[in-house]
Amino acid sequence: MERTILCVDSPERIATVSSAIEDHEDLTAIEATSVDEATQLLEDEPVVCVVTAYDFPDGTGLEIVETIRSETPQTPCVLFTDVSPGDIETSSFEELIVEYLNRDLPDATDRLEFVVNDVIDHSAQVGFLAPEDEDERLETLAEYDIDELPIDESFDRLTDLIADHFDVAVSFVGLIEKDEENFLACSGADWDSLTREDTMCTHSMLQEDVMVVEDIADDKRFNKNEQLENLGIVSYAGANMTAPNGQVIGQVCVLDHESRSYSPAERETLQQYAETAMEILELRQSVLEARPPEVAQ
């Protein structure tokens, strides 16, 4: 799969950077030589990584990083510069966080291609922690032919029942992909997907039991999350959808626009709903796989 990398450096150095990137057959470099030009390119073309120098006549590389992070926060960025970290002005960018690659290192240019591929392959700059066996988890998720399964009606009905049972504003079934959560069904809201680091489910899926946040305003993991605020989410409870091999592929969740708690019995019930959702998915997949090829088509 071809990957487009935005390379930003001075007119004298840009060719060195982009040719180092294009040494790898799957990487394509697009070039900019100023902050303004880079900002314009980011508006026009999706990129999977940014490699930028620090000093430009019209600003700094951190401004470019800030621009892309405001739109696609999980996109990795590499600051490729001979300016030492101590001389880089970070006071306005304290929580931006980039990979720093010192251009003065003897093997810096060779290392750049490796670093760029590595940060893309490993989603190395995301604002959430993935399980150590994330690759196996994603392989498990990929085994379900979600687009081919007739699950919409079943899950719509299920989320309606869950919302009604708990008397909450929103209930959903979501699958947690590599970079985002995709909602298979959602009662009380019209959501398709959310960037993974903006979701609460990416935290909930790491816990064995049901995760409850009674009021996100009291939890520092979520109270600066503008997406959650914009969606009006105040309280949350999420239960794991666990595949037969033990991998967690999704969540069944209830949300409300006001603070609320969940009793142990309610948590147990939510977990049972999650197991029901998993059974539906599993059965539909089994039926699909059992069909003769011509019928399945």
Binding site: I88, E95, I97, V98, D107, G127, A130, H203, K220
Partner: protein, 218 residues
Amino acid sequence: MSVSGSTAFDVETLPIDRVDDGTSILLTGDDTEALKTVFSRIVAADEDERSIVLATNAGGRAVRRTLRNAKSGAGDRASVLTCEGPDHDDAVTTVDDIGDLTRLGMEFSSLVAASQQSTARFRAGIFLCSTICSEVEDTRSVFRFLNTNFLTELRRGEGIGVCAIDTSADLETDINSMISGMETSFSARIDIKVTGRTDATLTVSGLSGVDETVDVTL
């Protein structure tokens, strides 16, 4: 440039024996002194290694002394990044603001890269990550920092890492929920429970050949 099949790291001062290359350890407990002792015993470098320590609650001289107490000569094989005290020499780098994760991350990665110019093997540590969590605006930034500048270095290089969290700190979150989440991203977890004036029990998971609970003298 990539993970190699190198030999494990010795930790003779704990009943842990050896830690495999690439291992990331989440170290938790509610006693800061006990955390510091166990942390320094794992992170103190042998002769063919370097330690890179991000210290939030101590100056460079104190950190190097603690490492020296854990292992003879280890203080001289350490690079310390801290927000306290002056730069004493090339091995101590200070930053003004522990909440400036962009600066911290760049300095930390730079120290790892510099240490790899002299020896490939390193032991990295953050003491205390809970202090960083309490200083930043958005916890997602801590996770981004750990991914970008800590776990990535362990994945790529020939090293081990320890991230210490003081569970008695007020982190304005459900700390048990946060730690159970973080635990899944690290390859091992050690939880310290102090049982006497100089004794503690370590609950260990994810380290091969180590009992689930081990008693240590601090």
